[in-house]
Symmetry: C2
Subunit: 152 residues, 2 copies
DNA sequence: TTTATATAATTGATATATCAACTATTTTTA
DNA sequence: TAAAAATAGTTGATATATCAATTATATAAA
């Protein structure tokens, strides 16, 4: 049976694009904030906007599983970006609080991230972005809802 | 300074799409071939088509760095999918050869991968795929060629 | 209200990602 | 041709990804 080389597929294009963007964005972020990563930035930004988020909810927002999120938050606590404390309303969860160091970083991050986004989207108009989103969502929904193939 | 939540950006859409596809594809592959991953499949397919590829070249094709590729190929050798041998034309490189086990797997993979691709792209026409590729390439090239932001 | 089920988070095992430092070669160039 | 630079690959350190098993707590069902 014939198959296209992976490098010719749309999936290859999608994957290489997001990797290139992440590399670009990380370089600009860590130039200003050496111990900060993209995903850790995202966690800080989400927590700033929605302080009540649980680890599980944050994990979903940044497409990680719970185990990864536990470890990521461990390192963020070690690096003094977050404080974990007991949530007496539901003792299975934790309260996650931003530290002063996090608040400082949250002052510097938005301009960097906005410039990253603008630079990587330069020459692309809103309609194109809209189209892109529609098609990507269709692919995503196909992947989510398609039956898995029978083991033949 | 204001910033859109990461979950509203096109980058979030790109990333979540490729992750959903990888999850879907992996499930279908490992249902038939338990110890096989997507990236290992890609390596086998590339090597089948281009047997002379070096580790470095394969790494580029699947967007990994050399260190990751070294370790990935180590595990593929341990799992008896590949054989590494000395290349006397250039002793810095290795020759990578597919084993009989790899050839067997290469019989089963293409129909699975073709079905994965077709299922995840159902309802999307060629013109849309073409548009998608164009825009993604533009983003990628913006990320590659933009000057990094000055540390201000 | 006890038992069963569900949920949030952690841990262990294994694979992968990434950077920087390193070894062994090969190629360039002075 | 000898020294310098480039190339292919490895290794160590650290972070992250993923699955399955586990703990602690909360909610639902009998």
């Amino acid at each position: 049976m014939n198959i296209s080389l992976p490098s010719e597929t749309i999936f290859h294009a999608i994957e290489s694009t997001i990797k290139e963007y992440r590399k670009f964005a990380l370089k600009n972020i860590s130039a200003s904030i050496p111990d900060m990563t993209i995903d850790q930035s995202m966690v800080l930004i989400f927590l700033k906007e929605h302080p009540e988020l649980t680890q599980k909810e944050i994990a979903e927002l940044v497409f990680k599983d719970n185990a990864s999120m536990t470890r990521m938050i461990n390192t963020m606590v070690e690096k003094k970006y977050l404080k974990r404390s007991i949530n007496n309303d539901d003792r299975r969860r934790f309260k996650l609080a931003l530290t002063a160091k996090a608040e400082e970083v949250l002052e510097k991050l938005p301009p960097i991230i906005n410039r990253n986004r603008a630079a990587s989207l330069s020459g692309i108009n809103k309609e194109e972005i809209h189209q892109l989103k529609l098609i990507l969502n269709k692919i995503k929904s196909n992947c989510k809802h398609h039956e898995y193939i029978e083991n033949s």
